[in-house]
């Protein structure tokens, strides 16, 4: 059995379901649990509770935005990032530094992933589900440009990029100009996709073999 302790950062996770991301990460954490990987999810949710243990191996940490109201998705997201950093740091210091890696899903918490990696030395994987260039193909708005900049930060600062398809891999390379070797494709439709995810996790942890 591989003993690793990932922390997953995602801006949606059930019950907060905005799009497909919540279902995907839910599916991923269930798979990791079946593989006996103790997993922590740090996500945003305006809950009166800060913590929930969903199973022996799955812990959820809720963060809510410390600033209200907001004027844009960027200001909302980036202040929330500082709170995410607080929550992850509390796990790190409170659990004897037992975080092997961060798996950041999409651009929302890229800033936290980058800063936590730089501050705590924790490896950081950027899982890309979609890109701003695909979601808003013809947009030249400053908002799109900010999101694009954060995605670029994610692919550049992370130790590894995981994506779902060869097509996405090609687009990431074209848009963000990173080497092929930095991206792995793990389609969640494949039977052994969790094994592939764990293998990818192990790649970024120093001295860790599957």
């Amino acid at each position: 059995m591989t003993k690793i302790t990932p922390v997953i950062l995602t801006w949606e996770y059930p019950p907060r379901i905005i799009g497909d991301l919540a279902h995907h990460v839910d599916h991923l954490t269930q798979g990791l649990n079946k593989a006996k990987i103790p997993t922590r999810v740090v996500t945003c949710h305006n809950s009166p509770y800060l913590y929930e243990r969903r199973s022996d191996l799955l812990e959820l940490f809720w963060a809510s935005n410390p600033v209200e109201p907001h004027i844009s998705v960027i200001t909302w997201c980036l202040t929330l990032n500082s709170e995410i950093e607080r929550v992850v740091s509390d796990i790190y210091y409170g659990r004897n530094r037992e975080i092997d890696l961060l798996d950041v899903h999409d651009w929302h918490f890229v800033s936290a992933g980058t800063n936590l990696k730089r501050a705590l030395g924790t490896p950081f994987i950027f899982t890309v589900h979609s890109l701003e260039d695909q979601r808003s193909p013809d947009s030249t708005s400053p908002l799109s440009s900010c999101i694009n900049g954060l995605e670029r930060m994610g692919v550049n600062e992370s130790d590894l990029v995981i994506t779902k398809s060869e097509l996405m891999k090609k687009e990431i390379i074209e848009i963000h100009e990173i080497p092929q070797s930095k991206i792995v494709v793990v389609p969640p439709t494949e039977k052994d996709w969790i094994k592939e995810i764990i293998k990818s996790y192990c790649k970024v942890i120093p001295n860790k073999r599957e």
Partner: protein, 396 residues
């Protein structure tokens, strides 16, 4: 070891000067270094300025402040914080930084994130509040900034503000208990007001030799009460005065128009922006300096007038009432044109009284030298470090 290595976060530092924050951080950081504190300043980049340099012992890190387009100022601030935080992580790790000092809400997000990731204490200086700047909170944009200020003050171990007035304002608008607040006034470098320059020549640029020079220096905005000065001018008949209004702001065109309507163009001169050296010289040659502010968290202009030796007429609002004393270092008046004119007359018609105000102000301003301000700031740092050392919240 309690003496901390400090990293200050400020969105402006010379040569990037937007308002009063840049000179404050510049002078304070240099004074702290003179007292033996290692000080790093992380700030926004500026064309032509070095990315990293040592300024009088202060290690200045200028970080890409996000030059791409953003839809509004608040979004730019958010992206600027991302860039600051990313780069500062390495500065903290490689320089054994043990205390963070944030200046105003603009660096809140980066400061708070860094505090938690490195588990080092955070001190925040609140120079002014959104509530005070806008005379209330009127829309979501302002609400967001005010909420950010509240977040910063909640996360900071101690809050520094420049006056008791500000401590009360922070208490009432942001809910900060006064017990967590330290009042440390702004400082001044009085030596800068002694630089040898040709004062006669400077004065001649603004007033005739037989005219008494009445000076206002500040942003031309409502809260500074500058409109009252123009309205006071007609009440100064019989006095040969030249009123010189220095500064920029959204009221500038209104003021110029009003001067023209009142046929006061030969009596009131709205100069616009002037170089700092010229302004310092004006404080030295002015016969009266007017500070009729409606809202003033501190009132650094009062220290400048005192250092320059210009007798002051003031409303005494906010922090001004703590720096100045009526009939000792200034003449206090009401916020209306007649009262302001009365104060001007009182000084211009009584040379003995003017000399007394000048002499007392020159003595009093010494207590605001940056060395003294740095000592008080170190007091806040030490108190924070003692609390931090005793507590359990630590990296390991």
């Amino acid at each position: 070891m309690l003496t901390p290595n400090v990293l200050m976060l400020a969105w402006e530092f010379p040569p990037r000067i937007i308002g009063g924050l840049a000179p404050h951080v510049y002078e304070l950081s240099r004074a702290l270094v003179k007292k033996g504190i290692e000080v790093h300043v992380a700030t926004c980049d500026f064309p032509g300025a070095e990315a990293c340099e040592v300024v009088d012992g202060v290690i200045v890190h200028r970080i890409d402040s996000y030059s791409n387009p953003t839809p509004d100022f608040a979004t730019w601030v958010a992206m600027m914080n991302v860039n600051l935080q990313r780069e500062i992580s390495e500065i903290i790790a490689s320089n054994d930084i043990s205390l963070l000092h944030a200046h105003d809400w603009l660096v809140a997000s980066a400061s708070i994130g860094l505090k938690h990731m490195f588990r080092i204490p955070l001190v925040a200086t609140i120079h002014s509040t959104e509530y005070g700047r806008r005379s209330g909170i009127h829309n979501d944009y302002q609400r967001m900034i005010s909420s950010t200020e509240r977040w910063l003050t909640r996360e900071a171990w101690r809050i520094i503000c420049c006056s008791k007035y500000m401590a009360k304002e922070i208490n009432s608008t942001l809910g900060v208990p006064e017990i967590r607040t330290d009042v440390v006034p702004n400082g001044i470098n009085t030596a800068l007001f002694q630089t040898p320059i040709n004062l006669e020549q400077l004065r001649a640029r603004f007033a005739q030799p037989n005219e008494r020079l009445v000076l206002f220096v500040g942003r031309l905005v409502h809260e500074k009460g500058v409109s009252t000065i123009v309205e006071a001018a007609p009440h100064l008949r019989g006095l040969n005065v030249k009123i010189v209004i220095v500064g920029e702001g959204y009221l500038k065109e209104d003021l110029i128009r009003r001067v023209s309507e009142l046929s006061l163009s030969d009596r009131v001169y709205v100069t616009g922006f002037l170089e700092t050296e010229i302004i310092r010289g004006l404080f030295r040659v002015a016969d009266v300096c007017l500070i009729p502010s409606i809202y003033e968290p501190f009132g650094i202009v009062a220290l400048e007038a005192m250092a320059g030796g210009s007798p002051i007429v003031t409303s005494g609002s906010g922090g001004l009432g703590e720096i100045l004393e009526n009939d000792r270092t200034a003449t206090f008046v009401y916020q209306n044109p007649e009262s302001l004119a009365w104060g001007i007359r009182k000084i211009l018609n009584d040379q003995g009284y003017a000399d007394y105000l000048r002499k007392e102000a020159t003595k009093r301003v010494k207590s605001y030298e940056w060395g003294a301000i740095a000592t008080s700031t170190i007091g806040t740092y030490m108190r924070t470090m003692v609390e931090f050392t005793k507590g359990k919240w630590k990296p390991f």
